[in-house]
């Protein structure tokens, strides 16, 4: 009777769709309770439908663990359609955590020995839910099916066997001979399945399968199916690097495929084989290069993508030949397809050398600017990559730092940019390491400091303040080299600075102090006074800043100003010279590992607590009398 009123799967789905926006509530409150009840019904048809429904709910994202045992019951049904419902649900919902998995080995054993249809169903399900325990229990039965009279059973058994071997590798040795015998099967699809399995094994551990080379070679020459050819080529791509003599043997078939096959996929796999292990064979290499040229020039974006992958492989194996593709790769960069653009970028980073660095980086920077608004993520990747290219190996490829600094400053001003930190690091690194370009560096960053629009940037994720921080720091650090001091002072005193983060404001104040002091030390009286006056007139917003650090730094600057103004003339200049001397020591870059090289002095135990541990309930007063060491 229950069957009469049971909602079928279609009815359930229609019911869920009839509650748009409230599906989750409908499912939890109505559908799941009803289906749970149906799943425990003694009527096998009701149970089977319930199990189907549970599987559908699982796919939608609702929990269906309550259906696990009913699923097993359905799987053991005699009626094919109920059994199918059970197997489908198991494939969808079972995983290694499902405890009812312990109940199914015997059930599967029975079905593996039953009619071909049931056997195929069982093999398919087992392939999808294989665990270590199932593999151990059932691999012998699956292996036995390799000699079934029905080709479809043999095919499924081969693929299922692989899944078993994945979980239970100890079985590979006894099964190997039987597996290889299928390469001589009378039915081509069965041979194809055997090749698929061997391809998977070969790609993972090629060294164990060199003995199969003769059989695979024979199959490659005789293959009529593109799919099998592809798998064979993948096997050879894994084997050729391990067996140099194979390169010469394969030259014939590879040349034949590269010239006569119409399938791009086959020609692409041939190129892969040539690239990984046949570099010594001239004709195949030439044919492969021709094929790649054809791919990258294709109008089909999929083929172009494969072409770029092939160039990537070439770059690793035959870098000189890969350079021939530089122009084409640059052209491919000019699209909106992020997959292709990313591949191009990786290629360009690998292909660049001292001569090609500047034009390549120029093109990449142009692309980053073009993409800045619509695809900030890819734009950011481009910027990161080009900084790596320029600064890699301690700037090995870069000869014109002035050009690079100007480029960095341009990139810092791109809208939506998130790479301010990266650019800031680059600028500070160059300032520290490359003495000769310090003057250029100051000229390059001055426009950043002077630009009021950067101060009013309201984009919450903006990182341009990092660059401003470094610009201010560099200007202060290299104060002696600063030309046009007045302009720089005015830039640092702009009212918009109060919107910058507090650390950046502190950097501005430190820079102001240093520039002022450096200027005083060498300037004529009138000029020096006017600078001091300028600073005093415009530093009001620093003194009133809500940030404590900024206020403290501003008060210090005020004190310095006071001394300079009060002392006047020679005394002022002497004070300034003393202060400038304090700022004068240059600090070089410090290695990340430097701390670990400092020897710990004898008798010092870094792990011992410095303060006496407070007694229980002692509270805060214990720490009161201690000062820092």
């Amino acid at each position: 009777m229950q069957a009469l009123f049971q909602q079928s799967l279609k009815d359930m789905i229609a019911g869920i769709r009839a509650h748009p926006g409230r599906e989750a509530a409908h499912v939890h409150n109505v559908v799941i309770p009803v289906t749970r009840k149906e799943a425990s019904s003694p009527d096998p048809r009701v149970k089977a439908v319930a199990v189907q429904k549970a599987a559908y709910l699982h796919m939608m994202g609702f929990p269906a663990d309550w259906a696990a045992f009913p699923t097993v019951e359905a799987m053991s049904s005699q009626r094919l359609s109920y059994k199918a419902a059970g197997y489908q649900a198991a494939t969808l919902t079972f995983n290694s955590e499902t405890d009812v998995m312990l109940l199914i080995p015997n059930l599967l054993k029975k079905d593996l020995a039953a009619s071909p249809l049931e056997c195929c169903m069982a093999l398919d399900c087992l392939s999808n839910i294989m665990t270590v325990d199932l593999a151990r229990d059932l691999i012998a039965d699956v292996f036995g099916l390799l000699s079934s009279s029905r080709p479809i059973v043999r095919r499924r058994a081969l693929l299922c066997l692989f899944k078993g071997l994945e979980k239970f590798p100890d079985a590979l040795r006894p099964c190997f001979k039987g597996l290889c015998e299928r390469l001589d099967d009378s039915e081509t699809p069965v041979v194809s399945a055997a090749v698929s399995v061997l391809c998977e094994l070969c790609v993972r551990h090629p060294q164990n399968y060199l003995q199969l080379v003769p059989a695979l070679y024979r199959l490659l020459q005789a293959s009529q199916s593109n799919w099998m050819t592809l798998k064979l080529l993948k096997c050879f791509a894994a084997l050729v690097p391990l067996e140099p003599r194979l390169a010469k043997k394969l030259a014939g078939p590879i040349e034949h495929l590269l010239t006569s096959s119409e399938a791009v996929s086959v020609r692409y796999e041939c190129v892969q084989v040539v690239v990984v292990g046949m570099a010594s064979q001239e004709r195949p290499v030439d044919l492969a290069i021709q094929a790649v040229q054809g791919f990258v020039a294709s109008s089909d974006p999929n083929v172009r993508y494969l072409g770029l992958c092939a160039v990537q492989a070439l770059l690793q194996a035959l870098p000189s030949r890969a350079q021939e593709f530089r122009e084409t790769v640059l052209q491919c960069l000019d699209g909106s397809d992020t997959t292709l653009v990313r591949r191009c970028l990786e290629l360009l980073a690998g292909m660049v050398d001292g001569e090609t660095l500047v034009p390549t980086v120029g093109v990449m920077a142009g692309k980053a600017s073009a993409l800045a608004l619509q695809d900030p993520e890819t734009s950011g990747r481009i910027v990161k990559l080009l900084t790596e290219m320029c600064s890699g190996n301690r700037y090995a490829l870069l000869s014109d730092f002035g050009w690079y600094l100007r480029l960095l400053v341009e990139l810092a001003q791109l809208p939506h940019s998130r790479h301010g930190g990266l650019i800031a690091d680059q600028i500070s690194d160059i300032a520290l390491r490359v003495e000769a370009v310090r003057g250029d560096l100051l000229s390059a960053v001055r426009p950043l400091l002077c630009d009021p629009s950067l101060l009013s940037n309201r984009d919450p994720g903006s990182t341009v303040h990092r660059v401003l921080h470094v610009a201010a720091w560099a200007t202060g650090e290299l104060a002696a080299l600063v030309p046009q001091r007045r302009e720089v002072l005015e830039a640092l005193l702009q009212p918009g600075v109060r919107h910058l983060p507090r650390r950046t404001q502190v950097a501005y104040l430190v820079a102001l102090t240093k520039i002022l002091v450096a200027g005083q030390a060498g300037a004529e009286g009138g000029e020096a006074d006017s600078w001091a006056g300028l600073v005093r007139a415009h530093m009001g917003h620093f003194l009133e800043s809500p940030h404590q650090e900024v206020q403290v730094q501003a008060r210090e600057l005020e004190q310095v100003l006071g001394v300079l103004e009060g002392a006047g003339g020679a005394a002022g200049a002497a004070f300034a010279t003393q202060l400038a001397g304090a700022f004068g020591d240059t600090l070089g870059p410090v290695s990340l590992k430097a701390q670990s090289k400092v020897a710990v002095p004898e008798g010092l135990d870094l792990a011992a607590p410095e303060l006496a541990q407070p007694e229980a309930g002692g509270g805060a007063e214990d720490g009161a009398g201690h000062s820092g060491a």
């Binding site: 069957a3 009469l4 079928s8 799967l9 279609k10 789905i13 229609a14 048809r45 089977a48 189907q52 559908y56 699982h58 796919m59 939608m60 994202g61 929990p63 009626r79 094919l80 359609s81 109920y82 199918a84 419902a85 489908q88 494939t91 969808l92 995983n95 290694s96 955590e97 249809l117 398919d124 392939s127 999808n128 839910i129 294989m130 479809i152 095919r155 693929l159 299922c160 692989f162 899944k163 699809p189 399945a193 698929s196 399995v197 998977e200 790609v203 593109n226 799919w227 592809l230 996929s265 692409y268 796999e269 974006p301 999929n302 172009r304 993508y305 494969l306 397809d337 992020t338 997959t339």
Partner: protein, 167 residues
């Protein structure tokens, strides 16, 4: 090997999902959402391949095609040929078209079991079983016929719906 075979509609709702690598239910939902996000914003005329090793693991590639309101997304590893997988998706869609006659999304919604049976004739355990559409259809029809066979244990005055209510 194929890791996942997913069919998602243009709003991101899963219509058919096969996870050939076992994943817990929550992770399955995350993967479906991630796959959808990867392909939904691709411009027309872009290539059918995407890479997202951060989500799907190192060495994986994503091959997808869009048919009307459905995205067919396959995540696989380097042992599969990208163009070969693209062909595979084509074979599956053509087979669906033969089974359902001018297949549309609603067919997948309401006749999901059939769609799964059809997929299982093409891919099993993440390995490709067959790419010949004639063979696939022949075997599907065999299985379908066997499932429709009347239940010998049912009495003639049984369920008024008759036949097999599991289709």
């Amino acid at each position: 090997m194929i890791h996942y075979f997913l069919v998602v509609n243009s709003s991101g709702k899963p219509r058919l999902t096969r996870f050939y690598r076992q994943e817990p239910r929550e992770r399955q939902q995350e993967l479906v959402a991630a796959a959808f996000q990867l392909v939904v914003r691709r411009p027309a005329g872009a290539c059918n391949f995407v890479e997202d090793e951060a989500t799907f693991g190192p060495g994986t590639k994503v091959v997808y095609r869009q048919f009307a309101t459905l995205f067919f997304i396959v995540v696989c590893d380097q042992a599969e040929s990208s163009l070969g997988i693209l062909d595979l998706i084509q074979v599956y869609v053509e087979a669906l078209d033969q089974v359902f006659e001018n297949v549309c999304e609603l067919n997948l919604v309401f006749s999901q079991p059939k769609a799964y049976v059809l997929l299982d004739e093409i891919v099993t355990g993440g390995l490709v079983l067959d790419t010949n559409s004639r063979e696939v259809m022949a075997r599907f029809r065999e299985v379908d016929r066997a499932m429709r066979a009347p239940d010998p244990s049912q009495s003639p005055k049984g369920n008024p719906q008759g036949g097999n209510s599991l289709r």
